[in-house]
Amino acid sequence: MPQASSQLWTILYSVARWILPALAALSVLFILFWLLSDSRSRHESLRSLPGSGTVGELVVLSGSRDLDPNTWFPVPREGILGSVRSCDLVIPCPGVQPKHLDFSWEDGVGLLIHPRSGCEALVNGIPLTCRTKAASAPLTHGSLLQVGSAVLRLHLFAALDNTAAPAPQSPPDFVPPVPLPDQEPFQPEQPPFSQAPFSFPAEQNPFPSDPPFPPEQIFAAQPEPVQPPDSAPLPETFPQPEPEPRPEAVPRPRRSDRWKEDLGE
């Protein structure tokens, strides 16, 4: 095999003494730039998908002094609901434990609720504890979730409410908000999940600026009616929403606003 002469090799080695470490340092530097570029491009991709990673929103129907009605929270696919700041969904209401329940999205089933030990939640009036099977009462579009004194309604993104892809639709020019009926919102003969999803006109822009929700991206398609599971009659303690035109949604409070600290964080 080819072998350099002693003199030639000495020259090569003298040059390589500086070039090889420089190449090594440059490689490390460019791998760092690569990581930064990858992170930046991912950030830009996520910015163009404002609902990315979420399955819908939870709208507060009844809250507390620290949580106004009509506040909405984007719901991630998995997370923790509780009253402390470190939770994914922060519900600062009486009766809500610091880490009250875990939730997870299951394709084809819905949002599963797993209350923690010593905590209880009501899904459409069905009580759930840590011993109850979560799949027995999944949250679907329009379902009610009661934790402590808070009552929340789940609005799913339309594309997540069925498995088949709906026909593409043109963005609506103006779609007035669907008013609530002048009656009990959830009668036994009118299951909550058969209600049509809400749609907002583009100019109302009820959504907070962070993250922005292009109105035409969500609630554009009517979901197929979901077969309601057998459910017990709803308790009478459910609040009665006022039969009036839907007010503008209030942006969710910032994390620093009056939310309890998580000392274990």
Binding site: W9, F157, A165, G264
Partner: protein
């Protein structure tokens, strides 16, 4: 996207030049056929893996670049022993590549479930206890078993089963101590406690696990004397290293020595610093993948990998600086042990699998947003 792709090609070009130049320098001195073969093979494998289309097999290229560079350095370091030693190390690294693909495939196909968690944990604990049942067996997987145990424990945690996860981890620690491997046991325990705290968020449970692990360690220390550390000569060797390649080629060194120190003595402190920075970049990438993951299982798996690799690297460096009085194994990817190399590649495969899952989630979001229009 164009900038993103151009960084990949720049890194690839630099790595090809670097490894081709390094091996060619040694090959031109000795005229060895093995070294000329490595001059082509090492850059060739790096080129192949970094250019592999993601449609064919999704691999996380930034972490792969860092890991393969460290692997390449592990092949470069033993060149001073002789060309055959470098070729043997190259063959070990090539065999370990199988575990890279195995880790990536496992993460793509595995879904957390109770039977799966039990199976993984039982397999890992079985492998750890193998030398205890069969003392004469030449194979005693420790690092590999910890990788499988990590997946089992993370699977339990993602199913919100904290007690089984804690029990499996403590069994693992107990078995490490019975095998007289306190350093691996300590690394595993520290990684598990941090992972448990991040996953469960419960100070009470974390406190219980810390007390249990600490109790086991104290019990073991009372029964067994601590093994000796590497010795105080390491500092003098570090201080004798040049910044760049030394002016005269060092003499051949015995192969029992640490690859990390050999790299420094053969190629200078700048090479050592590059190796440490590459490991740091790998850990940063692991953290980034953990933060991007949507499901707890993948986030915890990425966090577990970076904790195991990071704590091992830190323990090694502390041992070099005589701050840790125990033998601390090897630096990630810079090891002559086939088992350790395979485990490191398996971890790299896990990171690739998680990265592929994150990309799939993002594509799903794009598809859902198109459906909603």
């Amino acid at each position: 996207m164009r900038k993103h792709v151009s960084f990949r090609f720049r890194v690839l070009a630099l790595l090809l030049l670097f490894f081709a130049g390094s091996f060619a320098l040694s090959a031109s001195r000795s005229g060895s056929a093995s070294l000329w073969l490595l001059t082509a093979a090492v850059p060739g494998v790096i080129l192949f893996l970094l250019l592999l289309p993601s449609g064919l097999f999704p691999l996380d290229r930034p972490s792969l670049a860092a890991g393969l560079t460290l692997c390449g350095l592990s092949i470069l370091a033993p060149v001073s022993f002789g060309p055959e030693e470098a070729l043997s190390q190259a063959l070990r690294c090539a065999a370990a590549l199988f575990f890279l693909f195995a880790g990536a495939v496992l993460l793509r196909i595995y879904r957390p479930s109770l039977p799966g968690s039990v199976l993984l944990s039982a397999l890992a604990l079985g492998l750890l206890s193998l030398p205890l049942w069969l003392p004469g067996i030449p194979l005693s997987p420790g690092d590999g078993a910890s990788a499988i145990l990590l997946l089992g424990v993370v699977s339990f945690l993602s199913l919100r089963l904290r007690l089984p996860a804690l029990l499996c981890a403590l069994c693992g620690l107990f078995l490490f101590l019975l095998r007289s491997d306190p350093v691996s046991g300590g690394i595993w325990t520290l990684a598990f406690i941090l992972l448990f705290w991040a996953s469960s968020g419960s100070s009470l449970w974390t406190g219980i696990s810390l007390c249990s692990a600490g109790g086991l360690f104290i019990f073991w220390i009372l029964l067994t004397p601590l093994p000796d550390s590497a010795g105080a000569s390491v500092f003098s060797r570090l201080s004798a290293m040049s910044v760049v390649l030394p002016e005269s080629v060092p003499e051949s060194i015995l192969p029992e020595d640490s690859l990390f120190l050999l790299l420094g003595e053969q190629y200078g402190l700048l090479f050592l610093l590059s190796a440490v920075l590459l490991a740091v970049l790998l850990l940063i990438r692991g953290a980034s993948l953990a933060l991007q993951s949507r499901k707890q299982f993948y986030a915890s798996a990425a966090l577990g990998v970076l904790l195991l690799l990071g704590i091992r690297a830190l323990a090694f460096l502390l041992n070099l600086a005589d701050l840790l009085p125990l033998p601390a194994g090897s630096f990630p990817f810079l090891s002559l042990s086939p088992e350790t190399l395979c485990t490191d590649m398996f971890f790299l495969g896990i990171l690739s699998g998680i990265s592929a899952r994150n990309e799939a989630d993002l594509s799903e979001d794009v598809r859902l947003s198109m459906l909603a229009r």
